[in-house]
């Protein structure tokens, strides 16, 4: 009986030490929840959520200060993923923060640009290139489409252009079951 108690005490001590040691040794750096939320957010950095970027919004969600449905670029899929991660109820996108739009990139009219650098200062991902009093240009592959550069431009030379569909980024459509095969035929006939 006594030995059994000793064994149990010994075991408890050993396990306690092990746990204590591993909690120190394998301490997780940073706040993993914020990073996991941030990984879901689209990184457009547009601020439509009411925070100055995706990371601040992620931090706010993690601390319970913001709702999960405030990011229009993330769309419905984004809200679902967040709800999944946090184990909360899905709710539709809050349209107060804006509606999802097709992905666009900014284009600067190089003939009108006066080189004031205001757009460079606004761009959250350094996608605009140019020096003072020189014309500016957007690096299309880096532009997230956040539209933050549009308002500051004093000569209104920046426009958003939707990304065109090409054979490279084209996607197979969701299958539509043919209900009216006859109509289908008339359309295919028109190609000859």
């Amino acid at each position: 009986m006594l030995t059994a108690i000793w064994v149990m005490i010994g075991l408890a001590l050993a396990l306690g030490l092990l746990l204590g040691y591993s909690s120190v040794k394998f301490k997780v750096e940073g706040d993993p929840l914020v990073d996991r939320i941030d990984a879901i957010l689209p990184q457009t950095q547009c601020g439509q959520c009411g925070f100055p970027g995706c990371k601040p919004y992620a931090t706010a969600i993690a601390s319970g200060e913001a709702d999960i449905n405030q990011c229009p670029p993330g769309g419905d899929a984004g809200v679902r993923a967040l709800a999944d991660l946090l184990g909360v109820e899905y709710k539709p996108l809050n349209t107060e923060h804006g509606e999802p739009k097709p992905k666009s990139v900014a284009v600067i009219d190089e003939n009108v640009c006066i080189g004031c650098t205001l757009c460079i200062q606004a761009c959250p991902v350094d996608a605009i290139l140019g020096a003072a009093k020189h014309m500016h240009t957007v690096i299309a592959s880096e532009c997230t489409g956040c539209e933050l550069c549009i308002a500051p431009c004093p000569v209104d030379c920046i426009t958003m252009e939707p990304v065109k569909e090409s054979p490279d980024n084209w996607k197979w459509r969701y299958p539509v079951i043919r209900i009216q095969p006859v109509a289908e035929h008339t359309t295919t006939n028109s190609i000859h």
């Binding site: 689209p42 014309m135 240009t137 880096e142 000569v155």
Partner: protein, 590 residues
């Protein structure tokens, strides 16, 4: 050369059937005899050649020609860019009359960049340089192949030089030659093997040399006895050992992984490449292209295309890339009445052409003129009854009914878990489904959704990094500025003490003037050298984009200075007006 040992070997290893059988698979009507009645015919040179830059898997090649340039047959028009890419060559001599977006044979039906050549009818080759490949190292041959434009001719169009590369980590011990051609209607490989078996074996010799491989196995389905005989004879004459094996006719035995298993019994794990287990597989037409490139110096300019279905004279044609599909249809006597669609590829894996006004490309192995009596419109799909026939038919042993469920509900993550990307889109499951569910269409949809998601994720990661870098830079600049201010404050104290002393030195006003002048000069030089700060860590692709932008800007600047030289230039006035309009705008916004 042809030693006794070899003969003994050959006798010991006669053509034999494989014992391994395909798992699953289906056997639709073959419809191969229609197009094998006559020999391969060369199509005449068309008036106009339209060469899409996108004819292969991977990066688009870089354009090398300008509109108006005269080109010869075999001339390099666009060179491979990046590790997975293929070159494009002129397929006949003529003049480049346009580089424009045209319709290409792609399921999207979207136009893409094409080089248009008006043929001069002379079909004049560039100087060809055959190569003594036996004397060259594999590495230099692979480097050469980047200029060949050769891609997998089985329809996948994967750049061949990439497949020939071996790494010391995964040496290849066996080459598989794919002559199975399992899909109904398609007969281009069959005819090629019947008519050009020796050339295929010569191509195999090159592939063998490059990869340093001893074993070669040719796999042919048992519905092609003529091709089998021709290949066996050619293989017997080769100066290296080649086995010819017959596999039972069953779709899709021609899929590389399936054929490898049928011929060698080796199962390539689905998360590995075949080279990881020492095997590589080439289509017969690809090998023939290798032979023509190294032994004659000819890059990829043509291929064999099966034109079949509801046309007057189904047949195989040797067609220059870029030839209009309409020429091909016309050559086969035109479409019969009732034809309402054209399918590129086979009936199982092919897709409807968006129009017949598209060119033949490197991937065009077969064109089927389809009519409702050939392929009746699909009956209405019914709910899945979970009969699991699709699972029995799936050669990759997936669970198609589960995949369908996840794809249908757009649960892409779950579909991935169920090995969506192992699906070879063979269509066996759709073929057997009693509920007529277009299963493969769902998988294609789910796959392209998944790919789009991955790309978005990648872009988001880049954006996050750039955003963090920017915040860091702003922080650093702020600190630097603060430091400078602090220093300046100290410095001005010093100079204020020195100032009276300088003032007592009254004589040298001229030297002061010079100092000011020098400062102005310095400022000017600084301005000229001014560089944007946000490109320090840009990847090469972005740097290239920046270079392009700079060039464009230089042009624009020149245009402006030119127009400034003329009075009342429009662009210059735009610049002059800018400050005024800026006021107006900000007023508007407020």
């Amino acid at each position: 050369m042809f030693s006794l040992n070899r003969i003994v070997d050959l006798i010991k290893q006669p053509v034999h059937r494989t014992e391994v059988h395909l798992r699953g698979g289906v056997h639709p009507d073959e419809h191969k005899h229609e197009s094998t009645q006559q020999p391969i015919m060369s199509l005449p040179i068309p008036h106009q050649i339209v060469l899409p830059l996108r004819q292969h898997v991977g990066h688009l090649p870089k354009l090398l020609v300008k509109v108006g340039e005269r080109v010869k047959k075999g001339q390099l028009l666009a060179e491979a860019e990046g590790s997975i890419s293929a070159a494009i060559h002129a397929t006949t001599s003529g003049t480049v009359i346009a580089v424009q977006d045209s319709l290409i044979p792609h399921p999207s039906g979207l136009p893409d960049q094409c080089i248009v050549i008006a043929a001069d009818g002379l079909d004049e080759w560039v100087d060809l340089h055959p190569m003594d490949w036996r004397q060259q190292s594999p590495a230099s041959l692979i480097e050469h192949l980047r200029l060949s434009g050769i891609v997998g001719m089985g329809g996948a169009a994967f750049p061949t030089q990439v497949k020939l590369r071996t790494t010391p980590k995964s040496p290849v011990h066996t080459l598989i030659v794919n002559g199975a051609e399992c899909e109904p209607y398609i007969t281009c490989d069959d005819m090629l093997m019947r008519e050009r078996a020796t050339q295929i074996i010569q191509g195999l010799a090159i592939a063998r040399h490059i990869m340093g491989v001893e074993n070669c196995i040719i796999g042919i389905e048992d519905n092609k006895p003529e091709a089998l005989q021709a290949m066996t004879e050619a293989a017997a004459k080769a100066d290296f050992a080649v086995q010819v094996k017959v596999v039972a006719t069953m779709y899709p035995s021609g899929d590389a992984r399936q054929l490898i298993r049928l011929l060698t019994g080796i199962e390539v794990p689905n998360d590995k490449r075949s080279t990881d287990v020492g095997l590589q597989c080439f289509n017969v037409a690809t090998l023939l292209a290798l032979h023509r490139y190294f032994d004659f110096g000819e890059p990829a300019v043509s291929r064999i295309v099966t034109m079949t279905g509801r046309v007057n004279e189904p047949r195989n044609y040797e067609v220059l890339f870029g030839t209009p599909m309409t020429d091909l249809i016309a050559a086969s006597g035109g479409a019969l009445s009732g034809v309402d669609d054209y399918i590129m590829g086979g009936p199982m894996m092919g897709f409807s052409l968006p129009s017949i006004h598209v060119p033949v490309t490197k991937a065009s192995n077969c064109i089927i003129a389809s009519a409702p009596d050939l392929f009746p419109p699909a009956a209405e799909a019914m709910p899945c009854i979970r009969c699991a026939r699709c699972a029995d038919a799936c050669p990759v042993q997936l669970q198609p009914q589960e995949l369908y469920w996840f794809a249908k509900s757009e649960n892409i993550e779950k579909a991935r878990e169920y090995h969506l990307f192992d699906c070879i889109e063979c269509g066996c499951c759709s073929y057997v489904c009693p509920s007529n569910i277009p299963l493969v269409q769902y998988y294609r949809f789910a796959k392209s959704e998944a790919i789009a998601q991955d790309r978005a994720k990648e872009a988001a990661n880049v954006a996050r990094e750039r955003n963090e870098f920017r915040l860091m830079r702003i922080d650093r600049e702020k600190q630097e500025r603060a430091q400078r201010h602090a220093q300046k404050a100290l410095g001005s104290k010093d100079s204020s003490e020195q100032a009276p002393a300088a003032a007592t030195n009254t004589e040298d006003a001229a030297s002061k003037q010079a100092a000011i002048q020098a400062a102005i000069e310095r400022a000017k030089a600084q301005k000229a050298q001014m560089k944007p700060k946000n490109v320090e860590d840009a990847p090469t692709q972005v740097k290239a984009e920046i270079a392009e932008i700079d060039a464009r800007r230089e042009q624009a600047k020149q245009a402006v200075t030119q127009s400034q030289a003329q009075p009342a230039a429009q662009q210059a006035s735009l610049f002059d007006q800018a400050p005024a309009s800026s006021d107006a705008n900000s007023a508007d916004k407020d």
